[in-house]
Symmetry: C2
Amino acid sequence: MTAYEMLSENAALVEDALKQYIVQQGSLTQALTDAMRYSVLDGGKRVRPTLTMECCHICGGESKKALPFACGVEMIHSYSLIHDDLPCMDNDLMRRGKPSTHAKYGEATALLAGDALLTLAFEVLCDPINPLEASVEAVRELSRAAGYQGMVGGQIIDLESENKSVDAQTLRAMHAGKTGALIAAAASLGVIAARGNKIQLEACRQYALHLGLMFQITDDILDATVDSSALGKTAGKDLKQHKSTYVTLYGLKEARKMAEKQTNLAIEALHPFGQKGQQLADLAHLLCNRNQ
Amino acid sequence: MTAYEMLSENAALVEDALKQYIVQQGSLTQALTDAMRYSVLDGGKRVRPTLTMECCHICGGESKKALPFACGVEMIHSYSLIHDDLPCMDNDLMRRGKPSTHAKYGEATALLAGDALLTLAFEVLCDPINPLEASVEAVRELSRAAGYQGMVGGQIIDLESENKSVDAQTLRAMHAGKTGALIAAAASLGVIAARGNKIQLEACRQYALHLGLMFQITDDILDATVDSSALGKTAGKDLKQHKSTYVTLYGLKEARKMAEKQTNLAIEALHPFGQKGQQLADLAHLLCNRNQ
């Protein structure tokens, strides 16, 4: 199986499971469930849930146990995009080639759909298919990664850094929070679902941290080099908002080198898994060479 | 101990614990932790966490086991107030007698502080002081109550009902979600912390559901009869926004009767606890007769 096939297969599994978790409750709340489904279904590369599924797999776990965790991670990711697109944040009307959630459903409904997805993520982690210990570890890991010491912390650094040039250390801290923490948690949750050991946990986390950094650098490169229609979201945004990125800080050529280095480090981290790690290694190459 | 003393004592315990949970991480994210602390500390009557603490107590549990659950509930309540006050929602500049969070810290930071408190709530529920089973039950209960089938669901009904008159059934569904679900969860979490039995759980939930409805009716009465400075938040808001309330739907006199009836039903539900339920009964009277 190629990395692309692995992504597609897991995306289909996650899509089905997400549909089951968001149940229409009646006409009074239909706008809310519509907006939740609009945001979380049928979009994105599903990189994070694929990490959860595949890290579970290479640790010898069953995929059905990783599935609720993968859905929880994707709900957190979706909520963060909804809130990030809001007028008081990035004010972005386009996401994944279609109107962003507030552009389609209005600001208030989008805000609430984000809140609801964030909340639902934790309910889903407690799916009884997993033992209590795994659920509690997953809730701890995901809440830490997504919260003020992780993703939301990265968002506030981003916000405070707008319209000023920041140093490499701040940029790194921002991305470690904004994207790195959730990607690392996605991998950890796969290991937790498999009840993997400490060596496996550390290897998967290292892989994910390097992958996450590479992903961010590549994002910055794409923002600077590809137009909006090809990207499926607003391009050139960073430059327009005077944001410091890996491209503005290091230049395009150096940024490309950095992305490649992180790809190699990610692949090296998979060493303990031997041949089993091949698809995750391929995934790293695939994401480094993506064009959207 | 009077109900007022019980509220004060629990408020102090919860205040201390909340401070411990929100740790300053360094200068880069200081705006975020400041806004979180501003929103969650030193404010409110702490009715919900008191319910958690006291329901644990009357079920024979230790208060230190209920404390993380009480804090989780209060974080959810605080986040909901922050997001509810945002310009795209109620656009309210005043809360608990001081500027609302976005009025003080700006919209984006307020949005993120709300997200961070919501996320932290679930981490706190997994405090290792409680057995795994209790934590998982608490996460399930609180996420369901706070999510699209509960509190956020009630918010969207509220939103969709703006500027039109709604029927009694819709008003009831709105409040069951907006306030009832979280108040009932607050009580349930106390029973869960005490590892109470089904009869205790049902009694505490019934008490809380009636208390919650009474609380909402009283809120509507206060909004229509007390001025902003006495209320500590913007008064007359419902009328100005053409919202249907228990007062607009039934009139002031009938609304007062309904509040009293719910108070009595709340107290009746405490029957299985005998004399132990006295303080919660007093609390119901206190809240029914409050003036802010």
